[in-house]
């Protein structure tokens, strides 16, 4: 376990050592801050049925940076080590393959969590200034952040897998981006599917991250997406582990 935490610590530290992390952090905060601002503006003009939390988590300005950051956070993880050859000194130390994979995954996850932490502040400030809660109940926060964590885990796992496949960071980023986009836009398929196949339409909703967020940010907990994201994360990490091992076997 100590080895795992040594690896994890190094992965986290690695993010804060590279300029990429700060560039990502800067533009991410810029976009989410702008998103919050424009959400409040919109609510000011027309009093709709939505809360501030719902308005924040369900706009294009929220989704756009979200989808973009995963490839940026994960493309480096394995590809860089393959390219530099540091994977050789890493894997000849007494560490297990799964320890390396999990350390990289959770390292990326910690940085992802750091990206989202300031948004908690937005709602707190809103309450301070507007003297009214940003959501109707606490479960809205809980729901929104829960789905954020779940989606984050799954998409980061996809990024890990893409990075484990190649020593080229750009290829890893594009592959991860394509896979995440495919997952993300799957509910658009519903409009193309014949209405005579309600099962298929239902199925796309089951996969749709946008739909999940809509529900959860209203404070509606559904166990199906929870199971979906957790199991897909575990499965993708399992694939990553095997790809990672396979690269050495086939050499």
């Amino acid at each position: 376990m100590r080895r795992f935490f040594t690896l994890l610590k190094r992965e986290i530290a690695h993010y804060f050592r590279t300029p990429l992390a700060y560039v990502v952090l800067f533009f991410f905060l810029l976009l989410t801050g702008f998103n919050f601002h424009s959400g409040l503006n919109a609510l000011n003009r027309e009093t709709g049925q939505v809360t501030v939390v719902e308005a924040f988590f369900n706009t294009i300005l929220f989704w756009f940076p979200l989808v973009l950051i995963f490839p940026l956070l994960t493309m480096r993880l394995f590809s860089e080590e393959y390219k530099l050859g540091t994977i050789e000194s890493l894997m000849t130390a007494p560490v297990r393959d799964w320890q390396v994979v999990l350390a990289k995954f959770f390292g990326a996850f910690v940085f992802y969590a750091v990206l989202w932490l300031p948004s908690v502040l937005y709602f707190w400030i809103f309450q301070l200034v507007a003297h009214r809660p940003a959501a109707t109940s606490f479960s809205c926060y809980l729901g929104a952040y829960t789905i954020l964590v779940l989606v984050g885990m799954f998409y980061l796992a996809i990024g890990c897998l893409a990075s484990a496949l190649t020593q080229n960071q750009i290829v890893a980023a594009i592959a991860a981006f394509a896979a995440i986009c495919a997952m993300f836009f799957i509910n658009l398929l519903a409009q193309l599917l014949p209405s005579s196949a309600p099962f298929l339409i239902e199925l796309t909703y089951y996969f749709s991250t946008v739909e999940h967020m809509k529900e959860f940010s209203r404070g509606l907990f559904d166990t199906r997406p929870v199971v979906f994201y957790l199991s897909m994360t575990a499965f993708t990490l399992f694939l990553t582990l095997h790809v990672f091992q396979y690269r050495r076997w086939k050499k």
């Binding site: 100590r2 080895r3 040594t6 690896l7 190094r10 690695h14 050592r17 590279t18 530099l84 050859g85 540091t86 994977i87 050789e88 000194s89 894997m91 000849t92 130390a93 007494p94 560490v95 297990r96 050495r248 076997w249 050499k251």
Partner: protein, 310 residues
């Protein structure tokens, strides 16, 4: 310390290492010698559990590299070829990380760090970024990393490649000093290095072991066919050459002028220097040089690795 049995590695249809067997005892320094692409690095990567062997088995300190790879790895300090290092860490950060990763207890890390930095002369650069280091210092960081957890066995893949002669000498001294506490396996194609540091040599070519012995023994095998050089002043070149050739133990004679003098190069069996001297005295040829050169490891190496191409 190392036990290798019929170890084989195939990359697709290419056989990089072809059923090699060898043993290394505790406390030995073994030189792993071969031309580029002979399978040195592949063998080392298998021993360090980085690449799985296609067939055969190997043990490090009694642990099977495949079944108990974690245990085996704990006993190995490995310095890969070209020393891959992360550019964006400081030297002491990196060594600290590596120490923890290799299971050095927290309270001992500082002590070990000081030790290896002293040993490898990293004191003044320990706060520098690895990316800013010169090749020689990078090599030393790699060596420090290999030693930080006090392994029984050091496996060094071309530790002096790309260094200038001064740095090579420093690294060589370092390796010599390590001999008391470690078993060492070094791969290299620099021959003087092997002659100076190693107690045993394994010559590998095209994935097969061609020779395995002490450097002295390997040289002795070839020393019979040494070379003797004699520089004399002779009147009749042809007659002198044929008289030299007639001596017992001289196989062939070639000569070329060196000013007023003539330089004869004799390929010889055994040591005919005394007979050459007697001949010169009898013929009243003035002699200004008479040297015999035993085979160097270089010649052994050339003989062993290119035997089939001749």
């Amino acid at each position: 310390m190392i036990k290798v049995e019929a170890l084989t590695k195939r990359y697709g249809s290419v056989t990089a290492v072809d059923g090699i067997d060898f043993h290394v005892e505790r406390g030995e320094i073994v030189g792993f010698l071969g031309p580029n692409g002979a399978g040195k690095s592949t063998t080392m990567r298998m021993l360090t559990c980085y690449l799985p062997p296609t067939s055969g088995r190997a043990e490090i300190a009694g642990y099977d590299i495949f079944k108990e790879s974690l245990r085996a790895r704990e006993h190995i300090g490995y310095m890969p070829e070209n020393v891959p290092l992360p550019a964006d860490m400081r030297v002491h950060e990196y060594l600290r990380f590596r120490a923890a990763l290799k299971g050095v207890p927290g309270r001992r890390i500082k002590e070990r760090l000081t030790d290896v930095c002293d040993l490898c002369g990293l004191g003044e650069v320990s706060r520098k970024m690895i990316g800013a280091l010169s090749k020689g210092y990078r090599q030393r960081v790699g060596l420090a990393d290999a030693m930080i957890h006090e392994p029984d066995l050091l496996i060094l893949d071309e530790p002096t490649i790309g260094l200038d002669p001064n740095q090579i000498r420093q690294v060589r001294e370092l390796i010599k000093n390590l001999r008391r506490h470690h078993t060492i396996l070094i791969s290299t194609h620099i021959l003087p290095e092997v002659e100076m540091t190693c107690s045993r040599v394994i010559i590998i070519n095209k994935g097969k072991i061609e020779a395995m012995d002490t450097p002295e023994n390997l040289r002795r095998q070839l020393s019979a066919s040494g070379e003797t050089v004699v520089e004399m002043k002779v009147d009749n070149l042809k007659a002198a050459a044929s008289k030299l050739r007639a001596l017992a133990g001289v196989k062939d004679v070639s000569h070329h002028p060196a000013g007023d003098w003539t330089r004869f190069t004799l390929s010889t069996d055994g040591d005919p220097r005394e007979r050459i001297h007697e001949l010169a005295v009898a013929e009243k040829w003035p002699v200004r040089e008479l040297t015999r050169r035993g085979a160097t490891l270089e010649e052994v190496f050339a003989e062993v690795t290119h035997a089939d191409e001749r």
